[in-house]
Structure formats: C-alpha cells, structure tokens
C-alpha cells in the first residue's frame, strides 16, 4: 500500500478538484428546480434575495451550447472593400471601376482583399497615394496602413456590437473575434431574428450632447420621486432587500461627502425611506450635485420602466432625456453601479465630423489622453459650441449609451481637441474606438446566421441525455456480468472519468454541445476498451498459472503500450479536429480530448490503485469472470 501513497493523494486531489468545479453546476440545477416550484412574485423575490449567489453559480456552471438551449448565432465579417472605398479621398471613375473589379474577384478569391487591392492598382500602375495619404508614401506603406485600419475596424465593430447587445439585455451573450476579420455573436435564448438583425446591422450613431444643468436634472428627478410617492408607488423588490439597501447607501455615502442636499435615509429605516422616496430608493443622486444618479445594474430595468411611463414622461422637460453611462461608475458589494445623466435631447454634432481619434499617454503629465480631430466644417461648429458652453459637460453618446462626459475647458478652435481624465490607457483606447465608430463605420456583413428554437433545443437535449443514460446502463450491466469484480472497478473508473470530463468543461468554461455529448459517448467506449484490454491480459496471465497479484501487475504492464498508443492517436485526432474544425466539430473534439486524457488517468492509475487496495485486504473476493 505504501508505494501507492503518492498516487492516492493525487487521485483524491483530482476527485476533490472535480467536485469543486462541478458543485456550481449542481447548485444551479437545484436553484432552477426550486424556482420551478415557486410561482410569480415568490420566484422574483427568491431571485432578488439570492441574486449574487445565483449569478456566481451561473457564471461557473457548465455552459450549454446553443443547440442545447436554443438561441441565435451570427457570424459577421467586416466588409474591407467597402471600408477602403469609404476611406478613399477624391474618388474618380477610374477608382470606381477598379473597385467594382475587385469586388467581383473578392467574391470568389480567398486572397485578402487588401492584397487584391494592391495588386490591381499595381497592375494599372496607379499610385494609391492619389486616393490615400500623402504623395510621398509608397503603395506598400499605404497598404500596410490600410491593413491596420481594417484590423481596427473589427475591434470597433465588436465594441459597437457589445454596446448594443448590452443594452438589448440578453443574458450571457458571447461576442468573440475569430481570425482577423470575423466576429461571432452568440445570443442564448433569443429567437427574434428581425430584431437581432437590425440590432446588429444598423449603422453606429455617435453624437455629442450637452449635459443639462445639474440643478434642473436634480429637480426633475425630485419631481419624479415626489410624484411616485404621491401615487403610492411602492417597489416590492426594493423593500424585499432592505439589508442590501443599507450597504449600498453606505457605499454611496462614502463616495459623496457633501450632504447638503441629503435625501439619504439617515436615521430613517430603509422601508420608510423607500416609501417616502420611491425613485431615490432605486436611483441615488450624486450628493455633490453633479446631476448624476447611480443605480445598481439590477435596478436599471425598473428605472427604465418608470421613465418610460407616459405620466412620468410629462414631468421631464421636453428638451431633455435621461441616458445611462455605458460602463459602470463603481462596484460595491459585488454589484456594478451605473450613472444616469440628463442630456439635451438634440445633438450638437454627430460623429461624422470626426476625422481621427487617438489614445496616447500625455508625455508632460504621464496621463492617458485621447486626441480627436475634426474636419473643417465640424471644427467651425465645434468652436462655436465649445465657446458658448465653457465649463459645461459634453457627453459622447454612441447608440444611446454615454461613454464619456468631459467638461469643456474653453473654446476649441482648429478642430483639435484633447480629452483627459481617463483612469488608464485601456479606458482611453475604448474612447478612441468609440470616437472612431462615428467617423469610420465598420461595415459588417452577416455571413452566417443560425437560430435554434428552444423547443428543438429541448428535444435534442432530452434525446442526447436519454441515449447517454441508456448507453451507460447497458455498458455497466455488460461489464458487471462479464468481468465481475473487474466490472465493478471498471464502472467506478467510468463514473470518475465522466465526472472529470464535466469538471474540466466547467473549469475551462467550455461549452457542452450535442456533438460534445456524442464525444462523451465515444469516450465511454474507449474507457471500456481500456479495461477490456487490461482484463483480457489478466485472464491470459491467470491461465498461465500466475498468482492473482502477479497476473494483475503483468496484465497492466503488458496492456499499457497498446492503451497508450491508441489513446495518443485518438487524442491527436481530437487536437487536429479542434484546430481545423469549427463550432460543432470543436465541441466534439473538446470532449474527445478531455475524455482520452482523463481515461489514461482513470483507466490505468485509478483502477490499479483500487485493485491494489482490494488485494491487500483479501484475494478471494477478486474475480475476473
């Protein structure tokens, strides 16, 4: 037994780790079961009181693919040619005719569009500097710059999409970059094709909007608050989480020192405060009087609902609108808080006037800044607007989300502005992307769109799980009958193997798809094969008259090379599949790779230790059939 101590520790560690990673999935399953038994208000209350826990558990559970839970998958590709056309200056007939030729070629060719572009212009002997950049630049230099630009367009497209999807309110959306030019958007549980298509394909709208006077904003919020209180508006959910309210208030009180305009509960109980100030219980105004109000992300939908009510709309000045900041202002108690600000409804300028934007580090102060250049027409307007609104705040709004609201320091002439106050260079880069989104749209084409109705998802998950269970039961029965004690050990190994696969999926945030389940079924086959190989060997050794102990160890060592070689080849074909396959094939490859790796461990190491454990107790109970 002693020589196995190290292995036993490793095995126990591995099993413990697997259980640790599987627990959230189990917990999430339990919560869902529990929620199904609750009706209406009870279930919302349950969700609200356990919000953080539910979210944590959901984030760590095994994710199901769209084929198992229903939803939409859209693959977008940046239309490089269209972007190049839009970037070109002084377009003439010659340019247009070449562009048309390139378009034809690009449809059938696999060559990058920028390469085709360069070749076509080189063939005609036309210098690209006629349309792009300065005279001194060579075609190569220009093409390199355009390539950079097309790569940045993908990032821009992703940011635009993320912003919109966030506002659309899908749970667990996934937006990923694939290769250099593609974006994959996966929206679980969404089935409205049309809505999603317009959401994804619409042109980005960047606007500059002046912020309203903080006093007016505060008064409007106050009016809404009073109105709701007079209406006897009580938000059940707000009172359901009183303990939460206090912690949030404390966090906010810490954030804001000036309490001259105190509407904070003070000595009042949270329930009473919520009753007297139903709106401020959800949205806490900034105590420095900046005109911002903060709300946790969970309260946002409720505030949106209130603001949309026609009777509440009447209280808001007709030239004013409330918009949310795109990124959270701060995080408190695991909840992200967003700011709501009041803006002029009419945009001062739209993003079309921006020529360029760049995030850099200011060498003088070592601070991240964003510089922004406008065209001559925009510069004239900009000078007028900034001149007339010094010390006011100008919000940068992309698709109705406020990304930044810097204070205008003075009149900006010449169209070159500088934005400061970003916390880090990442924040500055995001602003650069946002500013460019208005200037350089990232034209995207939908090249693949799949949607699975939730009912098909349910059908297939049932079919998959059922077949999985039947296959497992049949295999187990056969092994028990054929190999007796060996069968029991094999089944234990099989069970551990399957839990390892699921645990690795959960640990690496992998997604379980239907082909993935097929991969697990295959792994079961291979796990059985491992045991069969070993047991057949042990039987052979037993017939030569060896003792049980000797037969077991000979069986293991002789079967090893065959098991190892066959697993390595299968593992490598899994790697190849993962590398070259897409979507469903990758899901299959993932479970096959995990399965073969886990199998080597369970089939060879764990079963060996189990047998050793049994032989040291008593040999008479071991029977290989």
């Amino acid at each position: 037994m002693k020589q196995y101590r190290g292995r036993i520790i490793i095995i126990l560690l591995a099993i413990g780790l697997a259980l640790y990673f599987l627990y959230p999935t189990y917990e999430s399953y339990k919560i869902n079961k529990h929620l199904q038994t609750l009706a209406g208000a009870d279930s919302t209350n349950y969700i609200l009181t356990n919000e953080k826990h539910i979210r944590d558990v959901r984030a760590k559970r095994i994710k199901l693919g769209l084929d198992l839970q229903g939803g939409m998958r859209v693959v977008l590709e940046v239309n490089v040619l269209k972007m190049l056309e839009e970037l070109a200056k002084n377009k003439d007939d010659q340019f247009n005719s070449i562009a048309a030729e390139i378009e034809k070629e690009a449809q059938v060719s696999e060559e990058p569009v920028t390469d085709i572009f360069k070749r076509r212009f080189d063939e005609k002997g036309i210098r690209l500097s006629r349309y792009y950049g300065s005279l001194r630049e060579s075609n190569d230099e220009i093409i390199k710059r355009l390539q950079d630009e097309s790569e940045k367009a993908v990032d821009r497209g992703m940011e635009i999409l993320r912003n919109r999807v966030d506002q659309y309110g899908v749970s667990e959306p996934s937006i990923q970059k694939e290769g250099a030019r593609r974006i994959i958007v996966e929206l679980p549980g969404v089935s409205n094709e049309q809505e999603v298509t317009t959401l994804i394909q619409g042109t980005a709208l960047l606007e500059f909007k002046l912020m309203k006077d903080p006093d007016i904003i505060y008064k409007t919020m106050e009016a809404i608050d009073k109105y709701l209180a007079s209406q006897g508006f009580t938000d059940t959910s707000a009172s359901a989480k009183k303990s939460d309210t206090t912690t949030q208030t404390n966090a906010l009180a810490a954030l804001t020192q000036d309490s001259s305009k105190s509407v904070l509960p003070g000595d009042k109980s949270p329930e009473q405060f919520a009753k007297e100030h139903p709106f401020f219980a959800l949205l806490r105004p900034n105590q420095k009087g900046t005109g911002e109000g903060y709300a946790s992300e969970n309260d946002r939908p409720r505030i949106d609902q209130i603001l949309k009510r026609p009777d509440v709309q009447k209280l808001i000045p007709s030239d004013m609108e409330f918009l949310w900041m795109a990124k959270p202002s701060f995080v408190s108690e695991g909840s992200r808080f967003f700011a709501l600000i009041g803006l002029e409804k009419k945009a001062e300028l739209t993003g079309g006037v921006i020529v360029d934007a760049r995030a850099t580090i200011d060498p003088n102060f070592n601070q991240p800044i964003v510089t922004m250049n406008m065209n001559s027409e925009g510069s004239r307007d900009w000078a007028r607007i900034t001149g007339a609104n010094v010390n006011k705040r100008m919000a940068i709004v992309l698709d109705n989300a406020v990304f930044s609201a810097p204070v205008i320091r003075g009149k900006i002439t010449g169209g070159r502005s500088q934005i400061e106050g970003m916390e880090n260079i990442d924040e500055a880069r995001l602003l650069e992307i946002v500013l460019k989104a208005g200037a350089l749209p990232a034209p995207v084409n939908i090249i693949e769109q799949r949607s699975v109705g939730p009912s098909l998802g349910e059908d297939s998950i049932h079919a998959g799980i059922n077949s999985f269970t039947y296959a497992l039961i049949l295999t187990v029965l056969f092994m028990l009958m054929y190999y007796r004690t060996g069968g029991i050990v094999a089944c234990v190994a099989l069970f551990i193997n399957v839990s390892f696969i699921f645990a690795t999926l959960a640990a690496f945030g992998g997604t379980l798809t239907l082909p993935g389940i097929a991969g697990i079924v295959l792994t079961i086959g291979m796990a059985v094969d491992t045991n069969v190989l070993i047991y057949e060997r042990i039987r052979e050794e037993l017939t030569t008259g060896k003792t049980l102990n000797a037969a077991i160890s000979a069986g293991y060592s002789k079967a090893f090379s065959a098991i190892f070689d066959s697993h390595v080849t299968t593992f490598f074909s899994g790697v190849v599949l993962f590398q070259f396959g897409t979507g469903p094939v990758q899901g299959f490859a993932l479970t096959v790779m995990m399965g073969t790796a886990a199998n080597l461990f369970t089939g060879i190491v764990i079963t060996r230790v189990l047998f050793n454990f049994m032989t040291t107790r008593s040999t008479s109970t071991i029977n290989f059939g």
Partner: protein
C-alpha cells in the same frame, strides 16, 4: 463469463479472399460516390434553411406550391422524421434574413388554420461553405499525416503506411455506403454535414486505435517467438486479441445502436456512419493493415533472396 476459449483461426491464410471482397465493396462504394449525387448539407453549400413544425402534417405539394409562388422554385423540401416537421432549403442568398422572412410569410399565408413554429433557421454565406469544405480536407490530411508519423515512429515505417492505407479503405467504404444509404429513410439523415465530418474523423481515430492494438501484439510476439515467421506470429496475435476485439467493438456497436435508436435526429446520422466505421475499422486492422505488412515483408524477403 467467457465468450471465447483459446482460438486458433487461420486469419492470414484467407486474406486473398478478403482482398477480393474488400475490392468489390470498395468498387461499389466508389460507383456510388461517382454516380450518385453527393448530398452536402447547408454547412458546406451555403444558402438558407428553415426547419418548421406544423400543428398537423401539411401536404408536401402545397408546401412546394408555396415555395414556387414566393419565387423560390426548385427549393428542397422534405420531412424529417415526424411528418409535421418540414425542412425547407434554398440556395438563394440575400442580405440579412430576407429569404427566411419571405418563406415564413408565404407559409403563414398558405396555411392559415395550421400554425407552425420555426425550430431552426440557418443562413450560411457561400464563402463559409467553401471554407468549411477546405477545413475538412485539411483536418483529414493533417490527421493522416500525424497517424503516419506516430505509428511509423512507434513501429516500423511500413506499419504506418499500412495503417494509413487501412484508413483510406475505411473512409472510402464508409463514404460509399453513406452515400448509398442516404435518402433511403426519412428518419436517417445522411447529408455530408459538420456532424458527419465529426463521425468520419472519429472513425479514423477508432480504426487507428484498433489497428494499433493488433500491431502492438504483433510487435510483442515478434520479440517472444523469434523463430516463427511473420505469418504465424500475425495469426497468433490476431487470435490472442480476438476476444478483446469482439468485446470492445461489440460494446461500441451497442452504444452506437442506442444512439441510433434514442439519440434523436442529430445524433442518428453520426451514429450510423460511425457504426459502419466500427465494422470496417475492426475488419481492416486484420485484413488490410496486417495483411499489407505481411505481403510487403514477404515481397521484400523474396527480393532479398533473389539478390
């Protein structure tokens, strides 16, 4: 329980007969591949595809009539398993979900009293289809190269070559049978799709591991019985591994049969393909891979003696 006592079958002696049988089956499969149109799924072709479930099964001609009416004649229309589930496919392409919306509108106008629900909707651009096909070829070639290198390295080079030839045999045979069986039953969807591609790659993996296990025993026995010739050693090795071969492939076939029966539409094509692959994969380890190694070694020895 024991299925096999010690067997002593002369496998290698009968290899010439099996060469002929393999040849004939491969020929039939090749004829199917060449003459029967290959049914690629939308994954590889591109186009728009809708799977709709009606409340009650609609007459297929009416569905076809609707498709003609809305300007999509020649669309593929078929039932999938349940007669209420209709699969509509057209190669027409337009920006966004225009085509799908047109089909939806046309169907709801035609079948007013018979509501339907869209179970699946797919639109795939032609470029993606071409890319997928290319990736599939790359994947197969890369897998074969890796297997050739690995087995060549672990055994002898000829063993690697023989294993890859056996794989070609298995893939071609299975592909031929899949194409032959496609369209036989509405419950068995055997279009060449990403799922089926996964099945082919799995059968490559399975067939290789089966071959490796037979080779492993040959390698071991060659060391033990040095005086015996390759023919005897091979027969002995195959007999010794026979019990394992039957049990493992039997269990895998059992699992696959369960998948075929209960696995649902999506898994059925996969399981069917892999089932054929299991049979040919097990067979080819003996009568293709081992037989080639045997005949090559004999040929080489003969030449060596002549010189």
């Amino acid at each position: 329980m024991r299925l096999f006592k010690k067997t002593n079958i002369d496998f290698m002696g009968k290899r010439k007969i099996w060469y002929t049988i393999s040849g004939i089956t491969l020929f039939v499969g090749l004829l199917a591949i060449i003459f029967k149109p290959v049914n690629y799924s939308i994954d590889f072709l591109g186009g728009t595809e809708l799977l709709v479930r009606f409340q009650t099964a609609p007459p297929i001609n009416e569905v076809r009539g609707t498709m003609d009416k809305i300007g999509l004649p020649g669309s593929e229309i078929k039932t999938l398993g349940d007669a209420r589930d209709i699969l509509l496919r057209t190669s027409a392409q337009e920006q966004g979900a225009v085509i799908a919306d047109r089909i939806r509108a046309g169907l709801s106008a035609q079948f007013e009293g018979n509501k339907f629900e869209v179970l699946r909707e797919e639109k795939i651009g032609p470029k993606i289809g071409a890319e997928l096909r290319r990736n599939a070829y790359y994947a197969v070639i890369a897998t074969l190269v890796i297997i050739l290198i690995y087995i060549g390295f672990r055994f002898k080079f000829i063993y690697g070559v023989a294993a890859v030839v056996a794989l070609f045999h298995d893939v071609l045979l299975t592909l031929g049978l899949v194409i032959l069986f496609n369209g036989v039953s509405s419950h068995l969807n055997l279009e060449i799709s990403q799922n089926l591609m996964a099945a082919f790659l799995t059968l490559i993996g399975y067939s290789t591991s089966d071959t490796v296990i037979v080779f492993d025993r040959i390698r071991e026995n060659l060391k033990i019985y040095r005086s015996d010739d390759l023919f005897t050693v091979m027969n002995r090795s195959i007999n010794e591994t026979l019990s394992r071969t039957v049990i493992t492939s039997g269990t895998v076939m059992l699992v696959l049969s369960v998948l075929i029966i209960f696995g649902g539409e999506v898994n059925r094509g996969f399981a069917f393909t892999f089932l054929i692959g299991t049979i040919t994969g097990t067979y080819s380890s003996i009568y293709v891979a081992s037989a080639i190694v045997l005949d090559y070694t004999r040929y080489k020895n003969l030449k060596a003696h002549q010189v």
